[in-house]
């Protein structure tokens, strides 16, 4: 599924460079075209949050449902930082922990534009000090400019 083993690290580095330019401490992305383009990971969206957190500095971390850990490890790069949440736990606490671990404790977090409202809403409760803004200008500048839903005519 890798296009080339350097492709995704390069794309992540591009996104991180753009994040610095746009003043984002982290970017949060749900499964979809942007996640696939940047990380190579393809996953279906459901009520169980599966997220990638890209910090301005350091390695991305994947936040995944506990019983999907094996499948997530198969789909992510070897040695990827995977944070598991069990059914009675909060994925948003895991994301907040990633913010802590990557020293992204103040400032702006960019939300990928197709991210669903409940994820933002719960994340804001788990990490209330951060300011949540659109990630789109930074992602666009890094060459990620994907329309999630198919564009109908015209």
């Amino acid at each position: 599924m890798q296009i080339d083993q350097d492709t995704y690290p390069q794309r992540i580095a591009q996104v991180q460079a753009a994040m610095k330019e746009f003043g984002l401490a982290a970017v949060v992305i749900e499964p979809g075209a942007a996640m696939q383009h940047i990380t190579g990971v393809r996953w279906g969206r459901s009520e169980r949050s599966f997220l990638v957190v890209i910090p301005a500095k350091g390695a991305p971390a994947f936040v995944v449902p506990g019983f999907e850990e094996e499948r997530a490890r198969e789909m992510t790069p070897k040695g990827a930082d995977i944070r598991v949440w069990q059914e009675d736990e909060s994925p948003f606490e895991r994301v907040a922990q990633v913010f802590q671990d990557r020293a992204a404790t103040t400032g702006k977090v960019g939300m990928e534009e197709s991210l669903r409202f409940f994820i933002f809403h719960n994340l804001k409760k788990a990490a209330p000090k951060m300011e949540y803004v659109t990630a789109q200008p930074a992602l666009k500048s890094a060459g990620v400019n994907l329309v999630e839903a198919p564009r109908r005519r015209p």
Binding site: E87, S114, F117, H121, T134, V147, E148, P150
Partner: protein, 374 residues
């Protein structure tokens, strides 16, 4: 199997809106904004394909619904409704719609699945508003089903059982899993409803969400089929795990344990009991046999069940920590699977609804390892 299906009436939809408005007033929410999706369908019967061009609905706490529609789609807008067309930027238009309904300050509920750019556009255009998750209103209405909804879910369940019966009758040694899948899909089409099934054989039955690896059916394999269909938008979700050929003692033992766990969950589903009690009851049976504990495998790696309705998975959930009391009209799956990676998995899934006298199954449980249907 399409005869006699009664769609949701406009009268029932009006009652739903009235209930939503009552909940909004109780919770001090000025209105809710819905994107295209299952909640919008629930309240209006309107289906719309979400795209980059924003289409949405405002349900104010008081007054009539207002629709935000791309100007290009004017002809497709719902007839006889209060339609607001937008040309270049939907958000100033939406702000005006909200203002006209007295929603300039206070709290606006946002569809839980609204995309971030939609929310971001609204908060820029309406800086004096506060925002919350609209699920307190939408789930507050949708969680408890009416008799008309239960009848549609019953039909969806009956159709799925009929499609599974037809499909499993075609099993043969060497059958690729996509052939069984195609046979069940064909059965759904013949029955008149679109449906989907995932098929797992042998060791792949341990994976809760299956595997795309090509498989061929061997004697002694477990066959697992899961998923469902929709009738007037309402879902079924049924899993059967059945032996092909002769079971080993181990297969028989685990299958029987799974059935006991499923029974225990159902027995714990009492009106007023917290949702988590159902999960605890099923898990206790599985743990007593030496599996787990908790989510550890071999054992039950996920919650015991999910709510079901217009979405296959919706609020509320049979999961540890969920204190929501079981109430009449709530619908759930009962599926405490046993996953033994490297060996096999067994999942029996039937859905039930809560009535005044306790839980009622939409489908009869599988009676035996070689008998998927009662």
């Amino acid at each position: 199997m399409t005869a006699g299906v009664v769609p949701i009436t406009d009268g029932e939809r009006k009652q739903r809106i009235a209930k939503a408005q009552r909940l909004m007033r109780e919770q001090k929410i000025a209105g809710i904004f819905l994107e295209a999706g299952s909640s919008l369908y629930y309240f209006t019967g309107v289906r719309w394909q979400p795209s980059d061009r924003l289409f949405g609905l405002v349900i104010p706490a008081k007054g009539n619904l207002a629709w935000l529609v791309p100007a290009d789609d004017e002809k497709r807008a719902p007839a006889g409704q209060d339609i607001h067309l937008w040309q270049d930027d939907p958000f100033p238009r939406l702000a005006q719609m909200l203002k006209d309904r007295g929603i300039a300050t206070g709290t606006l509920g946002i569809d839980e699945r609204a995309r971030f750019f939609v929310f971001d556009g609204i908060r820029r255009a309406c800086p004096a508003l506060e925002f919350t998750n609209a699920d307190v209103i939408t789930a507050g209405c949708r969680m408890q089903k009416s008799p008309a909804e239960l009848a549609l879910m019953q039909r969806a369940s009956d159709v799925t059982i009929a499609a599974y019966r037809a499909g499993l009758a075609t099993l043969r040694e060497g059958m690729p899993q996509n052939e069984l899948q195609n046979n069940i899909h064909a059965a759904y089409r013949a029955l008149g409803y679109p449906g989907y099934v995932s098929v797992m054989y042998g060791a792949y039955t341990a994976f809760p969400h299956g595997s795309l690896t090509p498989q061929k059916l061997k004697l002694g394999d477990f066959v697992m089929i899961d998923d469902g269909c929709t009738v007037e938008g309402y879902q079924s979700d049924i899993t059967r795990t059945v032996i092909f050929g002769k079971p080993t003692d181990r297969q028989r033992q685990i299958w029987t344990l799974e059935r006991k766990a499923q029974d225990a969950a159902l027995a714990a589903a009492k009106l007023g009991a917290p949702c988590e009690a159902v999960d605890i009851a099923a898990r206790k049976v599985i743990e007593a046999a030496g599996f787990g504990p908790g989510y550890k495998t071999p054992g039950l790696p996920h919650r015991t069940g999910h709510g079901i309705g217009l979405e296959m998975h919706e609020w509320t959930y049979l999961v540890k920590g969920n204190k929501t009391p079981l109430a009449t009209g709530m619908c759930f799956s009962d599926e405490p699977m046993i996953a033994i990676y490297g060996e096999f998995g067994v999942r029996l899934e039937d859905c039930f609804y809560m009535a005044d006298d306790g839980p009622h199954l939409f489908s009869k449980q599988s009676p035996a390892i070689d008998q998927p249907f009662a």
